[in-house]
């Protein structure tokens, strides 16, 4: 059993116990809320998983590797940010890909930018998860917030790369 599964199981157990022992809180009510949420969300989760795997196959990975070397300048940063925004995958692909690109002579600052962009403004997450699950108002604000702070993350990536490559 993985760490993340253990963590989330313990969260659920703690929350369950908390509901069960608090007077005036009903486990049945909690389960009803979960159930209502699940039949709205489940039909969207399955196709999301299918999209992830197929799009990873469709992606031109070799091309990405060639474009974001350490000396690629501003263009490289922008390309890295765009790649991070459109990469349609989870951490199980993005981080191995980042590590592979680093080995293939991509720049550290560019890879950090790519990863930060993936965490802040990823379009797949926006379209498949945020829009359907929290609605356009919140999802849009979340995305705009990510866009605003992304340049700060880029600057930080440059500093980190300079610090570590000294």
């Amino acid at each position: 059993m993985s760490i993340s599964l253990i963590l989330i199981v313990s969260f659920v157990v703690v929350a369950f116990v908390a509901v069960a022992v608090t007077p005036g809180k009903s486990v049945k009510e909690a389960l009803t809320i979960s159930w209502r949420q699940s039949y709205r969300v489940l039909p969207m989760v399955l196709p999301a998983a299918f999209i992830a795997g197929f799009l990873a196959e469709l992606l031109p990975k070799a091309l990405v590797a060639g474009l974001i070397g350490p000396d690629s300048g501003l263009v490289g940063y922008l390309l890295a940010a765009v790649a991070g925004a459109i990469l349609p995958t989870g951490p199980m692909v993005v981080l191995p890909l980042g590590a592979a690109l680093l080995k293939a002579d991509a720049g550290l600052a560019q890879i950090l930018t790519l990863y930060n962009a993936w965490t802040l403004v990823n379009l797949q997450r926006l379209i498949i998860w945020e829009l359907p699950l929290v609605g356009g108002g919140l999802a849009g604000r979340r995305f705009v917030g990510g866009l605003i702070v992304l340049p700060i993350a880029m600057l930080a990536a440059t500093l980190i790369a300079a610090l570590l490559e000294e």
């Binding site: 009903s26 699940s38 196709p47 469709l58």
Partner: protein
Amino acid sequence: MAKKARFGGYGPMIFVWTLAISAGALCYFVKGEAAFMRGFSADMEIIETMAPRFLLGLLLVGFLTVLAPREAVARALGAGSGVKGLVIAAGAGVLLPGGPWVIMPLALAIARAGADAGACVAFVMAWGTLGINRTLVWELPFLGFETAGLRWIAALPLPILAGLLIRRFLPMTAAARPADGDAAAKGR
């Protein structure tokens, strides 16, 4: 979910299914059967990882919704909660494990319970860029301790900053809230 008119509320679902089927078809016809099978087995692995976490996440949503009294959430994470509210929201995002299938329903739950858009943004963004679970499981092994650690520290202020900016310049009106006409809208 906010707008129920189009396609009887099935719009988002039809959209993701169309996307999934097109991606699969494109993969098969453009990249060939081998690529399709690789993609398909990757899909199955994702579902296998996701399913138990997703179901547990849904359970958590129910329990947390019952546990968190609306007034308390509104006080702690509402528009008047200041930087402290954003720090609390971001802290929750950092600590909570799980994929988007866990976090998005939770964001909806806190929005319904009276958190403002700034707090929701800080929560989801902190999960996305600082989530401790992903840092431990994925970033450390692939980026190394120094790089992953420095990246994490540099990203620390981002969710709070984004939350502040959204709260200041793009506050969410009660009408635009993802509430189904219940107390979250009235309670402001």
